[in-house]
């Protein structure tokens, strides 16, 4: 039974190994100092235990010791900080060529939208060996997307998009959990990340019965009369959308903004926060008419209209 005791989670992503190495270093340092203190206390307690004939001897403070046990911890923590931040910044950089998948967290489930069309609930199928970037949205409260085996975690905050990337290295099924308390069924907001061989993943994608989100997005685009102002060519009422995804756009305020997912979402929900140069703030809000899944579908549709210069 002892052999079955779990001590360490599986490593199933490209970053898991480096995070674990750092954790082991921290464990060694922590163990060293813990044992040091325990042993010193133990040793001193025995060696200097009170007994007849033994009195305490005053020991003057030694500045050199104070400096030592200030400087050494400072040095060690500097190492931990540098190592930890370096690894963290590296892990935060979106890798080039990552495939995007849209994920919505809502009380109490995860819905996943693959751009090619498959939708999932509580499961995320991904290919091994390829960087995957998740664009995360919350329908209601703060959730958190956590895959222990990949050592990745990101809060999913309502009102904005957050992102998380990983590259899975091992075929298999790995637990996915919500790691930010979100209400009654927080412990039930779990699922699986299913890592497949790339070819199997392609087959799985192709077997989906759902429309690609871009198609659903196009339907929404028509239904909500977006085309009325945003005919795909420029009109006087609204800026063009074709070939825009990823470009940099100038706003009335003078600032330059990237035409990315977050910008599209904001334009749908708070249209007059950022107005494109040369246009008036007349776009109505669709705040209570579109949920996060539907906004993702519209984004997918706009992406399908062509990308601009900058990468998505």
């Amino acid at each position: 039974m002892l052999i079955e005791l779990p001590f360490w989670p599986q490593q199933a992503s490209t970053v898991a190994g480096s995070v674990d190495v750092l954790s082991i270093f921290l464990t060694l340092v922590a163990s060293f100092f813990s044992f040091l203190i325990f042993l010193l206390i133990f040793f001193f307690a025995i060696r200097f235990r009170r007994r007849p004939g033994l009195t305490a001897t005053p020991v003057p403070t030694r500045l050199s010791l104070e400096v030592l046990w200030t400087a050494v911890p400072l040095g060690l923590t500097a190492v931990m900080f540098t190592w930890g931040s370096g690894l963290y910044l590296h892990n935060q950089q979106d890798p080039p060529g990552a495939m995007n998948i849209y994920v919505v967290g809502k009380q109490w489930m995860w819905t996943v939208e693959h751009l090619e069309g498959r939708r999932e609930i509580g499961e995320l199928h991904v290919p091994a060996g390829r960087p995957v970037k998740l664009i995360l949205a919350s329908q209601d409260v703060i959730h958190d997307f956590f895959i222990p085996a990949f050592r990745v975690k990101q809060d999913v905050v309502p009102g904005r998009y957050t992102t998380l990337w990983f590259e899975a290295t091992r075929i298999g099924s790995y637990r996915l959990v919500c790691a930010q308390y979100c209400g009654t069924r927080h412990s039930g907001m779990i699922g699986n990340v299913v890592v497949m061989e790339p070819q199997d993943y392609q087959n799985w994608l192709a077997n989906g019965a759902d429309d690609p989100p871009a198609k659903a997005g196009e339907r929404l685009f028509r239904t909500f009369s977006c085309a009325g102002c945003h005919e795909l060519q420029a009109t006087q009422k609204g800026p063009p959308l074709i070939g825009m995804y990823g470009k940099s756009v100038r706003m009335e305020s003078g600032e330059t903004v990237a035409f990315d997912d977050a910008y599209i979402r904001e334009s749908i929900l708070n249209p007059n926060e950022k107005v494109v140069e040369g246009y008036r703030p007349i776009m109505p809000t669709f705040r209570n008419q579109l949920n996060e899944d539907e906004i993702f579908q519209i984004i997918a549709y706009i992406r399908s209209l062509g990308a601009g210069d900058a990468k998505p």
Partner: protein
């Protein structure tokens, strides 16, 4: 043990309800606090018991999900705001600060009594919230769940916490003024007991940090009452603003909970080693450093919240820095043992346990300060293990150590030493059994606030629950024998431990005005070398 010739002291100076409930005597107020926080400790502990029982099995089968959410919320709220934060300052601090500095009382005795009443009123509100359905937001009240979505007694609970916060502020204010203005002649700052330094630093945090909690709660109350949108993204608000405001207080709050314990440990370690503290100035100033740096690290609770990575780096670096002064204290306490004459009375056992367990807890904090690792262990049982090592393995052990150390001074009775040592060992063993497995569970990926978990985690959870029952037993035993000692314990002399410190230069229990004549101080603290 007869009543015949007991001299007049603060306990028997007057009788009746009014003399206690309308007292201005800091010593009586300390006892009022002692009784109330013990009751809250039992309530909070009861919730912990239910949590651990539920976690015996992987399925959530003991209580409903909603009930479980209320259990961990209320466990956290009660333990933090009604036990840990007031415990050492309001019981031991209140009792001892005037005695240790040679004063007759605190600067503002009526304010002191008001602090207790405010604490009680806040407690009543919170307990009312508990018994009329509970609250399920987590003690951290994150928005928009707490401000918009939760269907539990958020307003009532928030009011209770808001009110209690003022108790903290007034206590801190009282302590700061007292320490500045009422020290006995000759008692310069660098002659003060480290207990006083620790409480001074704690009071600075109480005074400067708690108001920000008050505002955070006020905004939640407004949001819930008027749906104004401050934290609701659907109305333009930012949920992260709440997190910044909340943690700006709640991180320094953890230093409110640990600094007094560190002060207690300094007093105990010196007495039972019969030695001056090693590195007095460093230990004293490190308390101030912890208080100051503690205000600058709140963002380390938000590394994966969506805040900027650059901000994350700044907070990470500062979080490493705040660990350094704590390390300095641990090394200095350990060095104090060197060439001492060490005895292992119960208070010393608790103090030594504190040093060891606080060290482990503090070192695991480094994992959390390390950005890349925190991404993995944030919001898992690793964090729970970390803070329980510090709060329970640290603060609670220091509290018990202090209660035992000063019990003769407070009550005039000695506790039974053998039982006390047994209980200390049971606590130490039970504690480690309860919380060490949680480090493993956390790294394995068991999230916080889950009442159901995968099967393979069950062994560690069972071990943790088993430890919790031992820990509970360890806490029960002192409650019993301390009560017993009030009537049957050996009568204590003025200074049963032969300790340094002005509080031991007056009878046990002290007279109402503490000292027959104002003492004059001519030597450093812990002058055990001069007075063997």
């Amino acid at each position: 043990m007869t009543h015949a010739n007991v001299p007049e002291n603060y306990l028997n100076a007057s009788w009746g309800w009014r003399s206690w409930l309308l007292t201005r005597d800091h010593k009586r107020i300390a006892l009022l606090y002692l009784i109330s926080i013990t009751l809250f400790f039992i309530v909070g502990g009861f919730f912990a018991l239910l949590i651990r029982l539920e976690l015996l099995t992987p399925a959530g089968d003991l209580v409903q999900a909603e009930t479980y959410n209320k259990l961990f919320t209320m466990h956290g709220l009660i333990m933090i705001f009604f036990f840990l934060i007031p415990s050492i300052p309001s019981v031991l601090g209140n009792f001892l600060i005037p005695l240790m500095i040679g004063a007759r009382d605190l600067a503002f005795p009526k304010l002191n009594l008001l602090s207790w009443y405010i604490y009680i009123i806040g407690g009543v509100f919170t307990l009312a919230a508990v018994v009329t359905g509970g609250v399920d937001t987590g003690w951290t009240f994150y928005t928009p769940y707490s401000s918009t979505y939760a269907n539990s007694n958020v307003i009532l609970t928030a009011l209770g916490i808001f009110i209690t916060g003022f108790s903290s502020i007034l206590t801190g204010l009282n302590f700061i003024v007292t320490i500045h203005k009422m020290r006995a002649p000759g008692l310069t700052w660098l002659r003060l007991p480290l207990f006083i330094w620790a409480h001074y630093a704690t009071s600075l945090i109480m005074v400067l940090g708690t108001p920000v909690l008050a505002i955070s709660i006020t905004l939640i109350l407004l949001e819930r009452s008027f749906h104004s949108g401050i934290f609701d993204p659907k109305l333009g608000g930012d949920p992260l603003l709440f997190q910044h405001l909340f943690w700006f207080y709640s991180h320094p709050a953890v230093y409110i909970m640990i600094l007094p314990g560190m002060g207690v440990v300094s007093e105990i370690v010196t007495c039972y080693s019969r030695k001056k503290i090693f590195g007095y100035t460093f230990v004293a100033l490190s308390s101030l450093a912890i208080a100051a740096l503690g205000f600058l690290v709140w963002g380390h609770h938000m590394f994966v919240s969506g805040a900027s990575p650059f901000a994350g780096m700044v907070f990470s670096m500062l979080s490493f820095l705040v660990a350094i002064p704590s390390g300095i204290k641990v090394f200095n306490w350990t060095a104090t043992l060197y060439k001492g004459s060490i005895s292992f009375d119960a208070p010393m056992l608790y103090a030594l346990g504190f040093i060891g367990l606080f060290t482990i807890g503090g070192l695991t904090g480094l994992f959390l300060a390390t950005l890349a690792v925190d991404v993995h262990v944030h919001d898992t049982y690793f964090v729970i293990a970390h803070f329980h090592y510090i709060m329970v393995g640290g603060a609670v052990m220091a509290y018990f150590g202090g209660i035992h150390f000063w019990w003769p001074k407070i009550t005039g009775r000695l506790y039974p030493e053998v039982w006390a040592r047994i209980a200390a060992l049971i606590v130490f063993i039970g504690f480690n059994l309860t919380f060490f497995p949680q480090f493993l569970l956390g790294y394995l990926g068991m999230p916080r606030r889950y009442h159901a978990y995968p099967e393979e985690f069950q062994v560690w959870n069972v071990m943790s629950t088993a430890g919790a029952s031992i820990l509970g037993l360890g806490y029960l035993i002192p409650i019993i024998y301390l009560l017993w000692s009030l009537r049957y314990g050996r009568v204590a002399t003025e200074n049963p431990w032969n300790a340094m410190g002005l509080e031991w230069q007056t009878p046990s229990p002290p007279p109402e005005s503490n000292f027959a004549a104002t003492p004059i101080v001519t030597e450093e603290a812990y002058s055990y070398d001069i007075h063997t």
